[in-house]
């Protein structure tokens, strides 16, 4: 097993990876940008290395800085988390070239699956059905293809994934407008303007299968997850198992996923994403060659720590268990807490999370990226934490998650908690009858009305009374909070900045 692992990420996923490293007795090294000085992920790791300024492209996305930090700290492996460099084949290669282990698939596997066209071919060859589509940089050719296959279509970055920058187009005009924005975004986010389009399956559900491969042609699946509750193609709530699969389709899709992973001799943890059409057919969407945001729901129903499994595979080249050794019991549901103002078009929010209380009951797990007095900055993804509830049945898990969300308090930064609380109380969610477009099509209007209701008079009275009895409530608490944080966490701050070797002056 590794002695020391550098986590090339930030926020909740860096903290979550550190927890498994701590448990395994492997030392953990955080990286951080100037904007993340003192952030939670640097506090929970054994060491932390500065890797550059706030802008992600100069810090978390800068492979050279990350690898220099790994070398400087004496790490023997790098865990990329998700996002940032996790699906960057050149980074995986550079890590290996530096004599370190990349905890993830091979660079070739990342490249093949990152190229959505190649991935579709591999899936097709492994016998996984694919959705009709077309790709390229020539907008005119894409428009012709869309006209041929019929609308609606969906536009995706060829090197993208995770739903970022995806857009639906219901006619040619929308497609043209959307292509331009998507290409610009793809260029800025992935350094390649290539996009592709696929026929948009309407009223479909998102089903994905977690796999682990040993890199030598053997793979197992850890059952499916359902991530149908999405807003603008961004997953909001995920669960396992899926309500929508019958036993035959479950067998079909999990076996197809294993076939695909075995066909490419997949190494490590990966996810085969599929769409379940209204008439019960499954279509390959893409394969994500990394840990997923929603991996905890799989962990809770199987009892498997996926990060530990990643480390074990990376260290030994062997699967830590056989297929028959992977149980499935109960139900788990996850809700993503974002710093977004749901009352104002889900605009990202920034600020200091003055007072945070995460729920902590039995069977509730919180993968958190911030605690009280931590900053939420403009520079990175606004996801603050994931709240995951387990229960013997879906109903029990859902009730528990609702209770946990009610018990969550994030004061100081506006979050999507009111949205999550309302969403999970919707009768359609309780029944499980929705599709990937349902939130936007049917839920958001009613929710917007709800958010426009005035606050109760008593809330205004409380704000006024708090101010009357503590006039300096605003300024003084902020100052006291910052001082407290500095005193408790950063007693040596007065000594000046700690200089990180290897980054120049």
């Amino acid at each position: 097993m590794f002695r020391k692992v550098l986590i090339a990420n930030r926020g909740e996923i860096a903290c979550r990876i550190a927890a498994t490293l701590h448990e395994m007795g492997v030392r953990s090294v955080a990286v951080y940008s100037e904007a993340d000085r003192g952030a939670l992920h640097t506090r929970v790791c054994d060491e932390a290395q500065l890797i550059g300024p706030a802008e992600a492209r100069d810090s978390y996305l800068n492979a050279d800085h990350v690898i220099a930090a790994a070398k400087a700290s004496g790490a023997d492996a790098v865990h990329p988390g998700f996002g940032f460099l996790a699906e960057n084949a050149a980074f995986a290669e550079a890590v290996e070239r530096a004599g370190l282990t990349f905890i993830g698939p091979t660079a070739d596997q990342i490249r093949a699956m990152g190229d959505k066209r190649a991935a579709r071919k591999i899936a097709e060859q492994a016998g996984v059905p694919i959705v009709p589509g077309a790709e390229g940089v020539d907008a005119q050719a894409l428009v012709r293809a869309a006209n041929a296959m019929g609308y609606p279509v969906i536009i995706k970055a060829a090197l993208g994934g995770g739903g970022k920058g995806m857009k639906a187009a219901y006619n040619e005009a929308e497609l043209r407008e959307g292509l331009e924005a998507a290409q610009r975004m793809a260029q800025s986010a992935f350094g390649d303007p290539s996009v592709y389009i696929e026929k948009l399956l309407e009223h479909a559900r998102h089903i994905e299968v977690q796999v682990l491969g040993d890199g030598h042609g053997r793979a197992v699946h850890l059952h499916e997850r359902e991530c149908t509750l999405q807003r603008r193609h961004q997953k909001v709530v995920e669960e396992a198992p899926s309500l929508a699969l019958d036993a035959d389709t479950r067998t079909l899709v999990t076996h197809a996923a294993v076939r695909l992973a075995e066909a490419v001799k997949y190494r490590g943890a990966g996810t085969i994403e599929t769409l379940l059409s209204r008439d019960g057919h499954v279509f390959f969407l893409e394969m994500n060659t990394r840990l997923q945001v929603e991996h905890p729901v799989t962990e809770l129903i199987t009892g498997v720590d996926l990060v530990r499994a990643q480390l074990e595979i990376a260290a030994s080249g062997k699967l830590p268990f056989e297929q028959f050794g992977i149980p499935r019991h109960g139900h788990a549901i996850e809700a993503r807490v974002y710093a977004e103002d749901a009352a104002k078009g889900f605009l990202p929010q920034v600020g200091t999370a003055m007072r945070v209380r995460w729920p902590d009951g039995p069977f509730v797990r919180v993968d958190r990226g911030i605690e009280s007095l931590d900053a939420v900055s403009v520079h990175y993804d606004p996801m603050l934490a994931k709240i995951i509830a387990f229960g013997p049945t879906r109903e029990a898990a859902l009730q528990r998650l609702l209770g946990a969300l009610d018990d969550t308090r994030v004061h100081g930064v506006v979050t999507n908690l009111p949205f999550l609380r309302a969403l999970l109380r919707a009768p359609e969610v309780r029944r499980g009858s929705y599709d990937t477009e349902w939130i936007e099509r049917e839920f958001l209007d009613g929710f917007a009305q709800l958010m426009q209701a005035p606050a109760p008079d008593l809330a205004l009275a409380a704000a006024a009374i708090a101010e009357a009895t503590q006039p300096a409530i605003g300024a003084e608490r902020a100052a006291a909070g910052a001082a407290a944080r500095a005193a408790v966490l950063d007693p040596f701050a007065a000594l000046g900045r700690w200089r990180q070797p290897g980054l120049g002056s």
Binding site: K164, A181, R184, M185, S188, A189, A343, K344, G345, L347, P348, Q349, V350, G351, T352, M354, R355, V378, H379, Y380, D381, P382, D406, D407, R409, H411, G412, V413, V414, L417, P418, M451, Q452, P454, A455, P456, D457, L458, A459, L460, A461, A462, A463, A464, I465, A466, E467, A468, T469, I473, G474, R477, A478
Partner: protein, 165 residues
């Protein structure tokens, strides 16, 4: 003691009159009721009104107040005393940056006539692109943004004047 609070799109007025220690007459937009308040050791407020007992937890972050009443959260914004913003002003009209971010595209120049809903500029923040559109028809009076600059929330990016003017 009067105070003004922004509650979503509304501005609301609270008048607080102390009737005794921890005993208040409250008027919210003219609706009057009495409240008794106790501050608990952990800083929460225990409010007793005709409707019963409610525990409120108020956190201040600059001018914002995060108010938890039972299991419900509300965000109110304290407005400067005595200033009640006129409706239809620049604020909230879509011409200010709705969040901090980087301007990626400016689609209009001074003097352009624009129609309601026409894209004026694009802002990127937190990996997402947001299009700023004209809230009404008019003529572009000024543009204070250029591609690549970082802007703070609330910064005025474009000013419009009536096309007739």
């Amino acid at each position: 003691m009067k105070s003004l609070w922004r509650d979503g799109e509304r501005t609301r007025e609270v008048e607080l009159t102390a009737l005794g220690p921890g005993h208040w007459r409250v008027s919210v937009d003219g609706a009057e009721f009495e409240v008794r308040s106790e501050t608990m050791p952990d800083g929460k407020l225990r409010l007793t009104s005709e409707a019963g007992v409610t525990v409120a937890d108020v956190t201040a972050a600059a001018t914002r107040r995060f108010v938890r009443l039972g299991t419900l959260d509300f965000v109110l914004e304290r407005e400067a005393d005595g200033r009640r913003r006129a409706a239809g002003g620049a604020h909230g009209s879509g011409l200010e940056a709705p969040m901090p971010g980087v301007v990626t595209k400016v689609l209009v120049v001074v003097g352009d006539e624009v129609t309601k809903g026409q894209p004026l500029l694009a802002l990127e923040a937190m990996k997402m692109e947001h299009m700023i559109r004209a809230p009404r028809a008019g003529r572009v009076k000024s543009v204070s943004a250029s591609p690549g600059i970082m802007v703070q929330a609330g910064a005025t990016l474009v000013e419009l004047e009536d096309a007739a003017g």
